[in-house]
């Protein structure tokens, strides 16, 4: 936590923003002080992506990372987490790969309700604005993604409440 706060205070770092853009869309943005082709390369090359996708604070590690960054190609990331018995796999297909400006992929590990992720890389004056959008098939699917993220807390609160009332 402290490390992250310190990191963010370093000069040259740009803020990351995130928000629900519509009923079924989440958007994250960030600017990088580098040309788009370098940033794009870091998203589409397995050896490079492995170096930033799993920050140390997450406590996870890559077991494997396969990227076939071509339109119609697939990707598969497999992670190990000390708290999980089984490895976790994230996978899908690239619907569009247009170097160095646009990437679109599916998220298929969750079945039907998975989002379509679109990342655009807009270069201006040697800087690149990255805009990542997760578009869910419906409002319900995004609501569910959010709810499942907070379910753990709910469950814990209910368990405490049950104990209190028993």
């Amino acid at each position: 936590m402290t490390t992250q706060a310190k990191d963010e205070a370093l000069p040259g770092k740009h803020p990351t923003t995130a928000g629900r853009k519509s009923d079924r869309e989440l958007v994250v943005t960030r600017t990088f002080d580098a040309p788009a082709r370098i940033v794009f390369e870091a998203w589409t090359t397995s050896d490079l992506l492995k170096r930033w996708w799993v920050p140390k604070s997450l406590g996870m590690s890559f077991l494997s990372c396969e990227i076939d960054a071509r339109t119609g190609g697939t990707y598969r990331f497999v992670f190990a987490h000390p708290a999980a018995e089984q490895p976790m796999a994230f996978f899908g297909r690239y619907l569009e790969v247009t170097p160095p400006s646009r990437l679109v992929w599916t998220n298929e590990e969750g079945g039907e309700g998975g989002a379509i992720t679109t990342v655009t890389f807009e270069e201006k004056d040697g800087r690149t604005l990255v805009v990542m959008s997760d578009l869910y098939p419906s409002k319900e699917a995004l609501d569910e993604a959010i709810a499942s993220g907070s379910t753990a807390e709910y469950d814990e609160a209910f368990a405490q409440l049950d104990a209190l009332l028993a």
Partner: protein, 121 residues
């Protein structure tokens, strides 16, 4: 302010102390539903379900709106606070990733520069 907060918490606790009402919240977390649908889902009378929804509504856990003859229930304003917290967690995850990406991109940029330099020199 503090008193208001305490009253709100009391209302929430009362609302959540019932298994049916917790079930209703769980159901609405998945999908909005009409009172009629909830009543049949939890095998109770319309009047009984209306009472439960009323308790949840007063606690800010559920909101209802009437369209035509159907009263639809959704998760209430407190859900918004939860969503905001979730989005902030999501933002933090990406901020941490992007900090690492920043470092990597800087390294690649420097490497390119020195390669260029060597190439030209």
């Amino acid at each position: 302010m503090v008193q208001h907060e305490a009253r709100r918490l009391d209302a929430s606790f009362a609302a959540l102390s019932d298994a049916t009402r917790r079930g209703v919240l769980e159901q609405l977390g998945r999908k909005d539903a009409s009172i009629t649908h909830l009543a049949s889902r939890f095998r109770m009378t319309l009047t009984g379900m209306k009472k439960h929804v009323g308790v949840l509504e007063r606690a800010g856990l559920v909101a209802t709106r009437k369209i035509g003859r159907v009263r639809t229930c959704t998760l209430g304003p407190r859900r918004l606070a939860e969503e905001t917290a979730w989005i902030e967690d999501y933002r933090k995850l990406w901020a941490a990733r992007f900090d690492e990406l920043d470092t990597l991109v800087e390294e690649l940029k420097q490497k390119e520069k020195s390669d260029d330099h060597t190439g030209k020199g």
